[in-house]
């Protein structure tokens, strides 16, 4: 099976600060790949590299066998949640419609076919009841479900998710991550899931890229989420506790919150 995402000797630096260096990585179709790390460690930048919005400092990134370009039809993207303004001139179904054929030229001619697809997607994410409500009047959880429907619209080979569970309640977290996993499992999309909290998706994750302090570790959750690996990455005493299928990391250094501001200034990240 050919990897759908491939990074070779990739490194990313902002000025003198290295986010990651010599990263070699292949992500296969149907793989659920999580990217973890503290704020400012380069998680969002990792996605931006795949989206072609961030140049690598050195190395190569390819997507679907071709070098990464600015945006791609292969990609479904769930952005970090940013609420729509209340008067945004678009209803829920129109937002999903943009995912279906918004990238095509001209005006929509096959209305019936597009509408069927939109209805299907709305139904899939349980958003049929508010299909005709302006997006700006929907709650954060409702908007996020629409983002999922929009991202799944073209049955993408690669599904990039940037903190899709942020500010969702537990119920919505489960619903959204189950939908993403379904796409990954049933339709063999490669999922890259950026998050700072692994537990909501722990049952789905195949591999993890853990970024911290300019270094990284790649492997299965059992290989990466250990006291030894994380202590090494953070360069301080971190304890990882596995309990009831959940993972708790104790003693993360405070310095990580400090890094956060640096990252905003240097990378414009997370905005």
């Amino acid at each position: 099976m050919n990897p759908v995402i491939s990074l070779k000797q990739a490194s990313l630096k902002f000025g003198r600060r290295t986010l990651w260096d010599d990263l070699n990585l292949d992500i296969n179709p149907g793989e659920f790949f999580a990217v973890l790390g503290p704020n400012g460690s380069g998680k969002t930048s990792f996605l931006k590299v795949l989206l072609g919005l961030q140049e690598l400092h050195s190395g190569h990134a390819s997507l679907g066998g071709h070098p990464v370009e600015r945006g791609s039809r292969l990609i479904g993207y769930i952005p970090q949640q940013k609420p729509f303004l209340p008067d945004t001139p678009m209803r829920a179904r129109d937002l999903v419609g943009l995912g279906v054929d918004g990238h095509r030229w001209g005006i929509r001619l096959g209305t019936a076919k597009a509408n069927r697809r939109i209805d299907e997607l709305l139904d899939l994410v349980g958003a049929s009841d508010y299909a005709k409500v302006p997006v700006g009047q929907l709650s954060g959880g409702e908007q996020q479900r629409l983002r999922v429907a929009q991202a799944l619209a073209t049955d993408p080979k690669v599904l990039l998710c940037d903190e899709p569970l942020l500010s969702l309640d537990l119920h919505h977290q489960q619903a959204v991550s189950a939908l993403i996993n379904k796409q990954c499992h049933d339709r063999k999309s490669a999922v890259v899931f950026v998050t700072h909290e692994i537990n909501p998706i722990i049952d789905y994750v195949d591999r993890i890229l853990y970024l911290a302090g300019g270094r990284f570790s790649v492997g299965t959750p059992h290989e990466v989420m250990t006291t030894e690996v994380l202590s090494d990455l953070y360069d301080s005493n971190v304890e990882v506790i596995h309990a009831n299928g959940r993972i708790v990391v104790v003693g993360l250094p405070d310095a990580t919150t400090h890094h956060h501001d640096d990252a905003h200034a240097a990378a414009g990240e997370g905005s």
Binding site: S72, I75, G99, H103, R104, A131
Partner: protein, 291 residues
């Protein structure tokens, strides 16, 4: 002037039938511009460019005034002015805040230049006034053909980029991720907007362009969020305002623009009231299920 003669000059419908034949060209021009304004306006609202339209129209005015001064074609002059302004804004003002300050800077400059050129001009005063307030009554057949041809070209181009432009306008981050050429589309739209402004100036003048390019779309957005319905209503409102304005203006001695702007404004007020009544009743299209 007493009230009676004032009313006489605003509304006077003697010999209306004969007049109507004379202004056939103007009516067609009004309808075409209404159609164009209604279409372009929906994107102006989606992209939050209302202020930019104003800025472009001031520079268009300067271009037209210069053309009047040196004796070349006024329409061409205003076209050059507005497309230049639109491109400048498209290239420089990438961020909204930046864009607004650039508009604020070039707007008075354009208006100042226009006034300079007009004060140097020694021809008929009516020509000067027409640039600011519109002069559609004097449209001849050739002008109408040029106008309609240009408007059709702009609308055709708009149709070609319709979907990706909508995507890039309301959801730019996603559009970019999906490979939509967001920046090139923005530039293309600015050129189309520049041309539309220059054409609209012919009917309502540089000062009142907003009534044609903003008000109808803004009114439509008060009453619906459905993209198709917004476009339809916006066009209907704009055409009603221009054609209605011309028809009313036949019965008075004052220029057409006050009629057009007033109609346009009234439509907006009505839509605004309808929108707020609906909002107060909580009607937003959600399906309520009783458990």
């Amino acid at each position: 002037m007493d009230l009676d003669s004032l009313l006489q000059s605003v509304f006077n419908f003697e010999n209306y039938g004969e007049l109507l034949v004379l202004v056939q060209n103007s009516l067609w021009a009004g309808a075409v511009l209404g159609l164009l304004g209604g279409l372009v306006g929906t994107f102006v609202m989606k992209r939050d460019l209302a202020f930019a339209v104003h800025g472009i129209s001031e520079l268009s005015f300067a271009g037209a005034a210069f053309a009047l001064l040196v004796g070349t074609d006024v329409v061409f002059g205003s076209l050059v002015g507005s497309v230049a302004a639109a491109l400048l804004l498209g290239l420089m003002g990438v961020r909204a805040r930046d864009k607004n300050s650039i508009i604020g800077v070039i707007m008075p400059f354009g208006l100042g230049l226009g006034i300079l050129f007009l004060s140097l001009y020694e021809g008929r005063a009516a020509n000067k006034f027409g640039l600011l307030t519109g002069q559609i009554v004097s449209v001849d057949t050739v002008q109408l053909q040029v106008l309609a041809g240009t408007a059709v070209a702009v609308m055709a181009a708009l149709c070609v980029i319709w979907r990706p432009l909508s995507f890039a306008s309301v959801d730019p981050e996603l559009a970019e991720a999906r490979g939509v050429p967001v920046r090139s589309l923005a530039l293309v739209f600015m050129v189309l907007l520049g041309v539309s402004v220059a054409l609209s100036i012919q009917i309502v003048g540089a000062l009142l362009v907003l009534a044609l390019l903003i008000t109808p779309a803004a009114a439509a957005l008060r009453v619906t969020s459905s993209p198709r319905l917004v476009v339809l209503l916006s066009v209907v409102f704009a055409v009603s305002a221009t054609v209605g304005g011309i028809l009313l203006a036949l019965g008075g001695r004052i220029p057409i623009s006050p009629y057009v702007t007033t109609l346009s404004f009234l439509i907006y007020v009505v839509c605004r009231v309808i929108g707020s009544v609906r909002a107060r009743r909580g009607l937003n299209g959600r399906v309520m299920r009783t458990a």
